[in-house]
Symmetry: C2
Subunit: 419 residues, 2 copies
């Protein structure tokens, strides 16, 4: 099938799905969940083909691990899907009801966006995650998974489509581009008549490619160079576990800490304690000249002078940048220059500083006295997330079901005319 | 200056403007308004250059009229600007405050989008309108006006920039591409590092060009093939003035009526009355075969059989399509096939039909018993509008100040860590 034909089918399916009741959508999601478990045999067999091919192709153990499914992981994926089925349905919600002076009754009503395109890499759980969130919010979706998981994705998509048909929903509401040729992505990004929003889930180069080649609005995000600023008033003993949590709890994700900014009046006390403590967790450091001097007395293994690119690097590993700053202003300026606008915070006892930091740091999520690791749909009470947006349209920060909706205006009158 | 340099300057100005207080922004807007009046002499002189050039180039009187300024029009533009200054400032508004189970305090805070690019055609009032809305909502903007109004726009922009500087705001917050070469538009659309949103204001070809060439999300809209469906239960005497209003009150705009759908059980009674009445207002008609048969008894001048493209045409003039339908379903299907998703309505006394129409017609604004002419920021209580969006991201329908904002998440804790 051509991409154009897939687009047309997606638009048609979207129109039907928009009208589906919450009950119908939930039943279909439960149906998918149940079939995923019943058919775990064929799914895991298909996954084994991908895993073996990956091993033969010489992929790293880490990558192979990312694409591997087993019963326990499948159980987790199914639990997430059931969780999405149980979330409230944003579609149909009415808001901003008002009666105008002329008597017109006006409100807005939440509707699905329409058709989503999601482009992602290895992990097969994304296929189910995204399908679940799209269906629950009444959106059709065209998925483009990584070629490494083609067999797994085929098995998963086939179950999704059969379940949709079984529950009276259009089976083409979720389509999968079953062709590893990269030219298909370029074609997909041109289908603005049929696709309303593109969500890339992957590294910076995928985001850049989508931005530069898409005729459809792209939700970029998921790239986090994250900062915590230890103000001079911070409770240094309490600050240490926050930095440790932000750095080591899961270093490979976008909301993990990349750079600690330390006020110069706290630096001599705090930096050695931090380096000593986090070294025990195998963290290594890239320190600015001042921090290097402070650490000169006891340079543990793993402290290197920061190079010119280091403060513009998303580490995704147990590396932490250290920069001493002379003031709140300098901390804010450093963040403005180096942050990707994902998650940045201040640790302080000074309310005025907290207020200024909140007002002046222009990131998707701004923290006061908390770990950056809370930038996550589930953590922030949204139930699930489809992406973390660092662009500024439609939604910023974690995007859950509601962020996959648009709205229509409803205007009701009594044969009203405009004067 | 290169477009790249303009983009960098816009981003820098945006960062400063984001921090401006409402008072500061309002004073600057009032200052611009006052300078526009004081310097009306040079403005009108510059406009005369454009008008003369347009006359020499042989532009139509209608086009020349669109780009002509005089004291009375300038007064209107200034009044609109003062109106924007007096609107509430959306920036800084806090919403969705919540305290999570772990004690984290979370809220969202409205912030400017950042940098807007607005590409428009002849009318010089757009320069002031857009600058006013952008500044009030804390956004920097790069404007690209039509070459026909280059002298006028230079005069206006110079006043805006001087006023900004006078009131302590960055003068480059509003920049103007002072080069009629179309290659500059192509360059502008690639500046995704510096521009967050593109708003084309013009015809379908401009929107298409922006969609196909922009690396920045584009707010398409302002193209309306609008429908009213006269249900069999409609009060036909009351329906007539609504259709007349929607068609003739201002036929050149996007929310004007293009096609009337008439239920077959009302057609014999209603269509001749409508044609008779609207013919007095110089409306001409494109009628489907059934309507032609109904009108066979008395074919007034100006009733033609509808051609194959007629129901996909935005008339922007005193032409009205007539289509007889056999049911509500057929009306909804016609709208789904031919509407641009701008403004569509039903005239009915049947509540169930009204509810189905609201649920199933997927347009930016859906009407029950009212003229489509209310699709307008001022009419719907937003004070002003920058565009009417028919795409589905960020905002749909009339876009006012709030629709020019994004938000940041603010998370405040007591040295909270993620478990």
């Amino acid at each position: 099938m051509t991409l154009e034909a897939m687009g047309q089918l997606a638009r048609k399916s979207s129109r039907l799905l928009m009208q589906a009741s919450s009950e119908q959508k939930n039943k279909a999601l439960q149906g998918i969940a149940s079939h995923l478990w019943t058919e775990r045999g064929p799914i895991l067999a298909a996954n084994l083909l991908d895993v073996n091919a990956a091993a033969q192709a010489g992929l790293t153990p880490a990558l192979i691990d990312r694409l591997t499914l087993n019963e326990s992981r499948l159980t987790g994926i199914i639990a997430d899907l059931v969780n999405v089925a149980n979330l409230p349905d944003p579609v149909g919600e009415q808001f901003e009801e008002t009666v105008l002076a002329n008597g017109l009754q006006v409100h807005k009503q939440r509707v699905p966006i329409g058709v989503l395109a999601v482009i992602y890499e290895a992990r097969p759980n994304v296929t189910i995650d995204v399908a679940g969130l799209a269906l629950k919010s009444g959106n059709a979706a065209i998925l483009r998974g990584g070629s490494e998981t083609l067999h797994t994705n085929r098995a998963l998509i086939s179950i999704i489509c059969r379940s949709l048909a079984e529950f009276g929903l259009p089976p083409a509401a979720i389509q999968f581009i079953d062709d590893p040729d990269r030219a298909r992505v370029a074609e997909l990004l041109k289908l603005y008549e049929y696709v309303d929003m593109v969500i890339p889930r992957g590294g910076a180069s995928l985001h850049k490619y989508c931005r530069e080649n898409s005729m459809i609005p792209v939700i970029t995000g998921g790239i986090g160079i994250c900062h915590l600023f230890v103000d001079e008033s911070a409770d240094l003993t309490a600050a240490l576990p926050v930095i440790r949590n932000a750095k080591i709890q899961r270093p490979t994700v976008c909301n993990a800490l990349d750079t600690v900014l330390v006020h110069q009046n706290a630096a001599v006390d705090f930096i050695p304690r931090m380096v000593e403590q986090l070294s025990l967790d195998s963290v290594t450091f890239r320190a600015d000249p001042l921090a290097m001097r402070i650490l000169a007395g006891f340079p543990p293994a793993g402290v290197l002078p920061a190079g010119p690119e280091d403060f513009d690097t998303e580490w995704l590993s147990l590396v932490l940048g250290i920069q001493v700053v002379s003031s709140l202003d300098e901390a804010i300026a450093h963040i403005a220059a180096h942050s990707t606008g994902h998650s940045d915070g201040i640790l302080t006892a000074n309310d005025a500083h907290a207020r200024r930091f909140i007002a002046e740091v222009d990131s998707a999520v701004v923290y006061v006295n908390a770990s950056t690791r809370f930038t996550d749909g589930a953590q922030l009470g949204m139930g699930a997330e489809v992406a973390v947006s660092t662009q500024r349209l439609q939604a910023r920060g974690p995007m859950g079901l509601r962020e996959l909706t648009s709205y229509k205006w409803v205007v009701q009158g009594n044969y009203h005319v405009r004067e």
